[in-house]
């Protein structure tokens, strides 16, 4: 057994006396030559909330997948306490064994069948398949009791696909608790929630831990980790680099532990406003019945400023982005983009007018995986004379320019001829960014530009967007990450159910107000 760290914290509650419920020792997992987990030790005690922190690729998900039986560790053992509190080895590679041993996991991408009701999802797999009935009454009573005890509320009688993300997540948690788990793993649980929903979740998690549940909280939102967890374990490059109490830690130290170097602060000069680059007046996009639509949107974005669009995704951000990128035409109202009236859906006309697009999903809409880095780099400007002559691609010129971009943007890849799908998310995003910025666009549409990126890559994207703003580009930043919105935006507008609020001065706003507006309250109610 491994001694717990932090003996230098005598003033903390004596959690060392609480029984150990989970003990990982020397967990190593290799994928080919990549060491995803390198001899990781981790002890978790009853009633403890432990944060597992790390950048993408640090090994968090692999470690939890081993714990939950998706992968089998190459070396090391997992011990978990049985009902009597005795540690017993957990057989690897079986989700069923993990569940039976009392490990529950709330997946980042919910493991819910959307065609089943919440109740059906909860009892799925808890009754032997060949039994004719469910024992529904007993099961319902247990779920009702859990909901009452934990305050987790959700409509259990309708197909899960019709519920909000917050409700789906509550069902995921109930699903784990229904099996009497002793260790609950939460994988990026707040990524999809409004700030109020996230607060509610934090309260629930605290209450559960008071009852003796051990919680492993995976996140990269440092402020949440500091507020909620008593201990933080940091992984970097597959190895454990820190295991310390959160008391006495701050965001900067945790970030440095994750990245392994100092993070330079973002520098943001005051805005120098130029001419309007985007003007919307009463714009409708999408049919009234559609979920992702825009209704009567008014907005004016000028060169040299960043307007952030906050909102839970699916509230009209897609329609707004499609309008600016020229993938959809406005149904009503007037839309003026860089001085041109935009009435039709015409993406190449938008590119010609000086719109740069950083799409939400770089895999689906930003790059073509089978094409090379160089080919992706020139994808939006194939007709330009520097890329083709008499209809034939100028391959060597393209390759040279892509090689230049690879140097300028520090894109880690085997070379310009490498297929882009071989690149990591951050490097792929750098290619997209380089492609957009090369044309010195007047208007940049940045839709979730840092989604799924680690701190290092995120900082880089932010720095370059701010530099583009300094050069006079107007930037429409659509994001779900409030930290990002507040760090970059001059003004912030909130989108909810297709309605876009007026853009408000970011300096006079706080996350609470924006959070309430994201949940559908008006600016007056929220203030």
């Amino acid at each position: 057994m491994i001694a717990l760290t932090a003996p230098d914290q005598p003033d903390r509650p004596p959690h060392e006396t609480r029984p150990l419920v989970l003990s990982l020792s020397g967990i190593t997992k290799r994928f080919g030559s990549l060491v995803a987990n390198d001899a990781i030790d981790l002890d978790v005690r009853a009633g403890e909330i432990v944060a597992l922190l790390g950048e993408n690729g640090a090994g968090k998900t692999t470690l939890m997948s081993i714990l939950f039986g998706h992968y089998v560790a190459d070396e090391g053992t997992v011990h978990i306490a049985d009902a009597a509190g005795q540690l017993a080895p957990l057989p690897g590679g079986s989700a069923e064994a993990a569940l039976r041993a009392g490990i529950g996991m709330v997946h980042q991408h919910f493991a819910l069948a959307e065609n089943l009701t919440g109740f059906e999802n909860i009892v799925l797999g808890t009754v032997p398949l060949w039994r004719l009935g469910f024992g529904k009454a007993t099961a319902r009573a247990k779920v009702a009791r859990l909901m009452k005890e934990t305050g987790l509320e959700a409509d259990l009688g309708v197909p899960v696909g019709r519920l909000s993300v917050g409700e789906q997540q509550r069902i995921e948690i109930l699903k784990a608790l229904y099996r009497d788990v002793r260790v609950l793993i939460l994988d990026e649980p707040t990524a999809v929630l409004t700030p109020q929903e996230a607060d509610g979740l934090a309260e629930t998690v605290k209450a559960l831990s008071k009852k003796g549940l051990a919680v492993i909280f995976i996140s990269h939102k440092l402020h949440e980790v500091l507020a909620l967890c008593e201990r933080v374990v940091v992984l970097r490059g597959g190895a454990k680099v820190a295991d310390r109490p959160t008391a006495g830690a701050d965001r900067a130290t945790l970030a440095e532990l994750m990245v392994g170097r100092e993070i330079p602060p973002r520098e943001r000069a005051p805005a120098t406003l130029g001419a309007p680059v985007l003007r919307l007046a009463g714009v409708d996009v999408g049919a009234p019945g559609e979920r992702d639509r825009l209704e009567g949107a008014d907005l004016e974005l000028r060169g040299g400023e960043i307007i952030g669009i906050a909102g839970v995704s699916g509230n009209g951000q897609g329609a707004l982005a499609a309008l600016v990128a020229g993938l959809k035409a406005p149904r009503n109202g007037s839309c003026e983009i860089v001085g041109h009236a935009a009435t039709r859906a015409d993406p190449s006309a938008r590119i010609g007018a000086g719109v740069g697009r950083i799409p939400e999903d770089r895999h689906r809409d930003g790059t073509i995986g089978a094409l090379s880095v160089a080919e992706n780099y020139v994808l939006e400007t194939l007709a330009a004379s520097e890329n083709q002559r008499h209809g034939l691609l100028r391959r060597s010129a393209i390759r040279a320019r892509a090689a230049q971009a690879i140097r300028d943007y520090d894109i880690r890849c085997p070379g310009p001829e490498a297929p882009i799908r071989a690149l990591s998310g951050g490097n792929m995003q750098k290619v997209v960014l380089a492609r957009v910025l090369e044309r010195a666009p007047r208007l940049i549409l940045a839709h979730q530009p840092t989604r799924g990126l680690d701190i290092g890559a995120t900082t880089d994207v932010h720095r370059r967007l701010l530099a583009a703003r300094g050069r006079g580009a107007g930037i429409l930043l659509i994001s779900e990450d409030l930290d990002e919105l507040f760090a970059l935006s001059d003004r912030i507008a909130v989108i909810h159910a297709g309605h876009l609020s007026p853009a408000m001065d970011a300096a006079g706003l706080d996350t609470r107000t924006v959070g309430l507006m994201m949940a559908g309250h008006s600016a007056e109610e929220a203030a």
């Binding site: 997946h107 065609n115 469910f134």
Partner: protein, 314 residues
């Protein structure tokens, strides 16, 4: 014109409707069971052939009629196992594998027939399922003659509709089947086996498909002919979409198709050759296409249909 409407009042027409619909009921139930679990089974056409041939041959060789039914179901399940192993743990293309299974099953059935009857022109007939003799219902006007022309095999089809509907809606197994066709990760995360559930569903579904074929030889035509399946399997694939993967609506779709087929046969005799018979033969298929055009766009496909699942991969 009046004659065309009068067809609808004939007990004979309704009896034929049910007779034509019965193999389709089995086929659609089989297809929807596979698809509910997330596997498209285009082996259906060949499994029909194999079921028709094997059930009939078993009875010809001396097994009782229900023994023939069982043999057909087992043969169907075997082809289901092939399709399931290739598409579920190995994750091969479900389209390509399914068409391969159809070609394989058809060829094996024809080959088996030729080996068993090397020099026979007309296939030997068997004593097929007799019409039902229902003491009380026999004398009910209209309904009596309709049901009196059916066999116990037809009752099995109707029973399968009810059983499958109950299993899917009410049992833990049905829950797991519906879940595995929507989000296999959810099933895995609850400690159930995605591979086991999917292969099981494909085997059971294929057994049902084979019963559809066996009905034709054991209850309708009393012998096995080349080409007798004649696209019935493909029709079932279309009807599955029409049925939106629900057993009750599958029954409705099969009956509707059966009624159109029975109707066009009778319409041909009324018009007496004034219109080419091929026009009438087209009618049920035109209905299938129209139903697909109207419904398939809105169809609520099982979300994980045709998506192979590999453990631990996202």
């Amino acid at each position: 014109m009046w004659a065309a409407l009068e067809i609808l009042s004939q007990a004979n027409f309704w009896a034929a409707t049910i007779r034509i619909a019965t193999p389709l009921i089995f086929g659609v139930l089989g297809a929807l069971l596979c698809e509910r679990a997330g596997v498209l089974n285009l082996g259906i056409e060949g499994i029909f052939v194999a079921g028709a041939m094997s059930g009939w041959l078993a009875v010809y060789l001396g097994l009782p009629l229900w023994g023939g039914v069982l043999v057909a179901a087992l043969v169907g399940a075997l082809f289901g196992l092939i399709h399931g192993v290739l598409t579920v743990p190995l994750g091969l293309s479900q389209h390509v594998t399914g068409i391969g299974v159809t070609l394989l099953a058809t060829s094996i059935a024809y080959f088996g027939y030729r080996v068993a009857f090397p020099n026979v022109g007309t296939p030997p007939r068997i004593d097929a399922f007799p019409p039902l003799d229902l003491p009380l219902l026999r004398d009910v006007p209209f309904l009596g003659p309709i049901l009196g022309q059916q066999t116990a095999f037809t009752l099995l089809a109707f029973a399968c509709v009810i059983v499958l509907a109950l299993v899917l809606a009410r049992t833990p197994l049905g829950l797991a089947l519906r879940a595995v066709g929507d989000n296999p990760e959810a099933v895995e995360a609850q400690g159930l086996s995605v591979v086991g559930l999917r292969i099981g569903a494909v085997m059971a579904g294929s057994a049902l498909m084979a019963l559809g074929g066996a009905f034709l030889t054991l209850s309708a035509f009393n012998a096995f002919y080349f080409g007798m399946i004649n696209g019935r399997g493909w029709v079932c694939i279309a009807l599955t979409v029409f049925a939106s993967w629900r057993p009750g609506k599958a029954l409705l779709g099969a009956l509707l198709f059966g009624a159109l087929d029975a109707y066009q046969l009778r319409l041909q005799t009324i018009t007496g050759g004034a219109v080419p018979s091929q026009i009438f033969l087209m009618l049920p298929y035109l209905f299938s296409i129209a139903a697909l055009v109207l419904l398939a766009r809105r169809a609520d496909y099982p979300r994980a249909l045709m998506k192979p699942y590999f453990k631990g991969q996202r």
